[in-house]
Symmetry: C2
DNA sequence: GGGTTGTGCAACCAATGGGTTGTGATTCCC
DNA sequence: GGGAATCACAACCCATTGGTTGCACAACCC
């Protein structure tokens, strides 16, 4: 289910770059070769190659060897994993937020000791 | 709605570190001071301070000045923004995947030219 | 006022990241 | 076989990051 810690790190840092996100957006339209991907960017093909290697290592894309070109395709499941993490924490935080709201409401109502805050 | 490009970069790179994710998990239990946050980690308080500054810059947490301590609290909306991005792309990719599936099915059925792939 | 506590700032350092150029390996085209 | 195209690898550069130590500052305790 939920990805391992270091995989999360891989995916998040892969997503933490505008160029790589743009590449992913581009790949959402369909598979593409390295040169096709490099074309819209003001940088060398080698730089794009590096970015692709990062995305591949995060398993956000996979590549098939077709003759002399190596088209890239998205690996959607990977994004699911991250979405899982996000969603989990979103819920936790939301709950926390609700509890805080209730807490504040309770405060406004009557007593106000027994915070029940952190306590590690 | 959807966050700006560079904000995405900020949030994703903030999340791309196990220590910072652990801090967030810890904060999901309730607000905490810098020293409380630093305690479970094998690093100095200053290092944690730096991590907090990164999280704050990504607006994943916010800090209130209470006397001499500066407790940290989560900022849930931020995670919503990222969740939005992820979810958007998850859908796009899923669609893409379906179309590919249909495509392959169609291939198995009858003809098989007219790929309708990329075309930039 | 003086010591302790909680925190931030600055300087430094090693490692990583994002980019470049240069080059080499395949595969296609003729 | 020879040239052009597609791509990856290696070496390098510079800026950023993640960590350290050392200090300064502000607020509490006495």
């Amino acid at each position: 289910m939920t990805v391992a810690e270091d995989e999360l790190t891989l995916v998040f840092s892969a997503l933490a770059d505008p160029t790589r996100r743009a590449i992913l957006e581009r790949l959402a339209l369909g598979e593409a070769t390295v040169n096709q991907l490099a074309e819209p960017f003001a940088m060398t093909q080698q730089a794009i190659s590096k970015h692709l290697k990062v995305l591949e290592r995060a398993r956000l894309i996979s590549r098939t060897r077709t003759a002399q070109s190596r088209p890239c395709v998205l690996d959607a499941e990977r994004l699911d994993a991250v979405a899982g993490w996000i969603e989990r924490h979103r819920r936790i935080w939301a709950d926390r937020h609700d509890r805080l709201g209730q807490h504040l409401a309770a405060l406004g109502a009557t007593r106000h000791d027994d915070e029940g805050e952190v306590a590690p």
